[in-house]
């Protein structure tokens, strides 16, 4: 049985005049150890999809099941990481990571032990007493990752987690994420508009098209497994196979764009 089952989800909103369809009949399954990446241009409904899965908004049609149970609101079983860091500036790095456990009523010593473990996992042990405004963008996202993991969610949802980072930090974060993924065996769903990032990370790549947002293609990939097995990131990203898929996806996007423009008569 799949861990997460997104079953025929559609989402509309009314702006008073029109009924706008944001998501049209989206279905996907996330199984154990999957790292599913959703790639799409802005406006393709990928953030709406993540918000629906996280429980922040409800779908107009369809249902979400986690371990076979229907979900309708946010819970600690679905950890979320946003593009902008959402650390609480009045708490230290350690307290931020332990926040979810504190809310559950876990005693301080116990929760700080767990928080320290995850800070070590993201290489931030030395910064546990710092505050969020003293950290760089990449460090903040590492804290956010540790915080989400500390609550031991069934699945981790990430909405363009590296979107605000510079190119170099972004590459480092992708590698860190794969290391965390292989060590924690967490299921993950990541949204991005960066083609190379998507292909590098995904075990299954889902391509979405906009207006209305729907799934156009699914590609099983294995570059993340190759990284976990010891190949270097640069080696993988310059592999002819990687480049071929990258160009193929890029071409597909350009094609979509041309079709859309001709349909709209631009």
């Amino acid at each position: 049985m799949s861990v997460l089952n997104v079953d025929h989800i559609s989402a509309h909103y009314d702006d008073g005049l029109h009924r706008n369809c944001v998501l049209d009949d989206v279905s996907l399954q996330i199984n154990a150890n999957d790292l599913i990446v959703i790639l799409g241009a802005s406006g393709c409904g990928k953030t709406t999809l993540l918000n629906v899965i996280a429980g922040f908004t409800s779908p107009s049609i369809g249902k979400i099941e986690l371990d076979g149970k229907l979900v309708s609101e946010p819970s600690a079983e679905r950890g979320v990481i946003f593009q902008q860091d959402a650390l609480l500036p009045w708490l230290s790095v350690l307290e931020n990571v332990a926040f979810g456990l504190k809310i559950r009523g876990m005693p301080r010593i116990e929760r700080e032990k767990i928080a320290r473990h995850f800070l070590e996992l993201v290489n931030l042990s030395k910064f546990e007493k710092h505050h969020s405004w003293e950290l760089s963008g990449g460090m903040k996202q590492r804290v956010a990752l540790a915080r989400a993991l500390a609550s031991d969610p069934r699945i981790l949802l990430m909405d363009e987690p590296f979107g605000a980072l510079d190119a170099l930090t972004r590459e480092q974060m992708q590698e860190l994420l794969l290391n965390v993924w292989s060590q924690t065996h967490k299921q993950m769903l990541l949204i991005t508009h960066d083609i190379e990032e998507a292909i590098f990370l995904a075990t299954e790549l889902i391509l979405m098209t906009p207006r209305p947002g729907k799934i156009a293609q699914r590609l099983p990939l294995n570059f993340s497994q190759r990284y976990v097995s010891g190949e270097s990131a640069r080696q993988i990203k310059s592999d002819p196979e990687f480049i071929r898929i990258r160009e193929q996806v890029l071409e597909w996007f350009f094609h979509q764009e041309t079709v859309r423009k001709s349909e709209e008569g631009i």
Binding site: A54, E73, F82, D85, A86, S132
Partner: protein, 257 residues
């Protein structure tokens, strides 16, 4: 110029004013009744600090004023912050209370002092109530604004870590509004202090306002000026304490976190 140079310049301005004041009074270009010398003012200050005036020392006048505003502030914080939070998170509460607060907030407190006197007499209660009302509105409104401005992403992260609605209010929304809450207290305390002194001018036997009011009736200009300086210094001191508090409690404010 360095930061310390600017500070020096400010000090020079103050010293220069005192020197001009001394020169003007030394040559008696203005009669002593209107403008006593700084030395005379300082002597009067020393006198009232040690011997006292109106059966009370300066310290007793100061503590009478400070305890009134302190009491009012305490009540305003304990009542105002919860109401502000409630108005910020709940539209129903906001719609109910907003007209009341917005109606009385722009009225100068001294305008409704006569009404308070009719209702509650001229005792301590009336004065504390008046200052309470002056401090209450800014605290409530700033708190509500701060609460409404909370970043949705922070709330969502807390939700996805399993926080309940009350936990979100307590652990996310209130700490996040701390800068605005303290700003509200700062604004309220400023209004409260000016209201207090004015109220004491009208009806009180102790307190800095009544001290200078009485001194003026006996044409003790030096004591009036000494009193004004003390009132100004206390207002400045309160503002500095709150600014420091804001920096300590909300060090992330103004930083790109």
């Amino acid at each position: 110029m360095k930061k310390s140079d600017y500070r020096l310049l400010s000090i020079v301005t103050i010293l220069l004013l005192i020197v001009i004041w001394q020169v003007v009074t030394f040559f008696e270009w203005i009669p002593v009744l209107y403008l006593p010398s700084p030395v005379a003012v300082f002597q009067q200050f020393y006198n009232v600090a040690t011997v006292g005036y109106m059966d009370a020392t300066l310290w007793q006048h100061i503590s009478a004023s400070l305890s009134r505003i302190g009491l009012a502030l305490l009540f305003a914080i304990f009542v105002g912050i919860p109401i502000g939070v409630a108005m910020g998170v709940n539209d129903l509460v906001h719609a109910t209370l907003d007209p009341i607060i917005e109606f009385y907030r722009p009225i100068p407190p001294l305008a409704y002092l006569p009404l308070i006197v009719i209702w509650f007499g001229i005792g301590e209660f009336s004065k504390v109530l008046l200052i309470f009302l002056a401090i209450f509105a800014p605290i409530v409104l700033s708190t509500a604004t701060g609460v409404r401005r909370v970043d949705i992403v922070k709330v969502r992260v807390a939700q996805s870590l399993g926080a309940t609605r009350w936990q979100i209010i307590w652990h996310v929304i209130i700490p996040n509004s701390l800068p605005e809450i303290i700003t509200g207290i700062r604004i309220g305390l400023g209004t409260g202090w000016s209201t207090l002194v004015a109220a004491e001018l009208i009806a009180a036997t102790q307190g800095l306002g009544s001290m200078i009011q009485s001194a003026s009736q006996f044409l003790m200009t030096d004591l009036v000026i000494a009193g004004i300086v003390v009132i100004a210094l206390i207002a400045y001191f309160l503002e500095m304490v709150l600014r420091r508090l804001q920096k300590t409690l909300a060090p992330w404010q103004g930083k790109n976190y």
